[in-house]
């Protein structure tokens, strides 16, 4: 079973690393027995790189037992999140 997490509940744009940490903690607080989490970015217009790294990058890198899926992103947000995940994954691997 997957936990569905809708960012729209928290806003439409996210700009800071601290905000990313808040969101990551919010996801972790909702997880019970789920092995997957679906982050729904519907209606999210902008994110900063540091937000993406702190939220999605760290969530995926630090919880390898979780399948972190990200859906419904606009192209610009998708690019930022993809880059952040790749860099964070390689940073952990090193």
């Amino acid at each position: 079973m997957a936990l569905q997490f809708n960012l729209r509940e928290f806003g439409t744009a996210f700009a800071t690393r601290e905000r990313g940490a808040e969101m990551r903690h919010a996801v972790l607080a909702r997880i019970a027995d789920e092995r997957a989490v679906v982050l729904d970015f519907s209606a999210i217009e902008n994110v900063s790189y540091s937000f993406a790294d702190e939220f999605v990058g760290k969530l995926a890198a630090e919880r390898e037992d979780l399948d972190v899926q990200v859906i419904h992103m606009v192209d610009s947000v998708a690019g930022i999140i993809s880059t952040a995940r790749e860099r964070r994954a390689s940073a952990v691997a090193c």
Partner: protein, 287 residues
């Protein structure tokens, strides 16, 4: 007696040129004379407001003589230099109701809670200059987020950090975003991990390189690089438009010009060392 600091006609137009000393040994009252001033850069407004807040916090008696030119005085008021200050400290006209068409009013922030609102307002300001905004909206949002994040995380000091922006029409339409703090500055921060980077220009140029961080977290150090990358990806970058990022800290000053899908770093002259980190991000669009 007291200390009088007088600005000439053009002193406000170069955001980095304003020399306003933050020293406890200045004799009181301190008078800042802006009467000859014409033209205001967003960074000058921040520099002036930090000077005021710092000396007020130090308990110094201070007075700012406003620009005699009515347009300049109104511009200074609109950008918010006097917002929240006693009227007898800085005598300026009231800000115009529609000032946000032309400026992002000067805002002091001490935590991340207001940064998203500031970033949204900065995007809205640029949209008044160029519509459709295209991917410049993403670039400005990224810039405000990353630069404010840096100011909060690596620029900690009692006053917090400051941001303001303004739009100009000559010589080309441009939006000028300014962010500053009185923290330890980028060179000192990066030297906590790389003490061999003793030259401030070199330390700044390394700090803005992708993957270089002063935090010890190998996943960090990409904020500046992403700001540049976002600007490079914008669909408005061409010969007549582009971006310029100017970073000043300590004795260092590094500029990055972004146009035609290239970025050109360059050293820029510094007359005096300056505490904290001072960054301007200028977006120039075709007329």
């Amino acid at each position: 007696m007291g200390t009088k600091i007088t600005f000439g006609r053009t002193c406000g137009s170069d955001g980095f040129g304003a020399d306003l000393p933050l020293r406890r040994d200045l004799s009181e009252p301190i008078v800042v004379d802006l009467s000859a001033l014409r033209d205001i850069h967003a960074m000058f407004a921040i520099r002036l407001r930090i000077f005021i807040d710092w000396h007020v916090a130090a308990g110094h008696a201070l007075q700012v003589l406003p620009p005699a030119d009515a347009v300049t005085a109104q511009r200074l008021a609109d950008i918010g230099v006097a917002d929240g200050l006693p009227a007898d400290l800085v005598e300026l006209p009231s800000p115009r109701d529609g000032r946000t068409d032309d400026v992002l009013p000067l805002t002091r922030f001490v935590d991340h809670t207001t940064v998203e609102d500031i970033a949204r307002d900065a995007v809205a300001l640029l949209r008044r200059q160029t519509d459709p905004l295209g991917s410049w909206g993403d670039a400005i949002y990224m810039a405000v987020g990353e630069l404010c994040d840096n100011a909060l995380q690596h620029g900690r000091n009692d006053l917090g950090a400051y941001i303001a922006a303004d739009r100009i029409t000559e010589p080309q339409p441009a939006m000028r975003l300014a962010i500053a703090d009185l923290g330890i500055g980028i060179p000192e921060h990066i030297r906590s991990r790389h003490p061999e980077w003793y030259d401030d220009d070199f330390a700044i140029s390394q700090a803005i390189t992708s993957g270089v961080t002063g935090t010890g977290d190998p996943g960090r150090g990409y904020g500046f690089a992403e700001v540049f990358d976002q600007a490079l990806r914008t669909d408005l970058v061409r010969a007549s438009s582009g971006a310029d990022i100017d970073i000043r800290a300590g004795e260092g000053r590094i500029g990055m010009r972004i146009f035609g899908h290239t970025e050109v770093p360059e050293r820029r002259n510094v007359k005096k060392p300056r505490r904290g980190t001072w960054i301007t991000y200028t977006v120039t669009t075709a007329a």
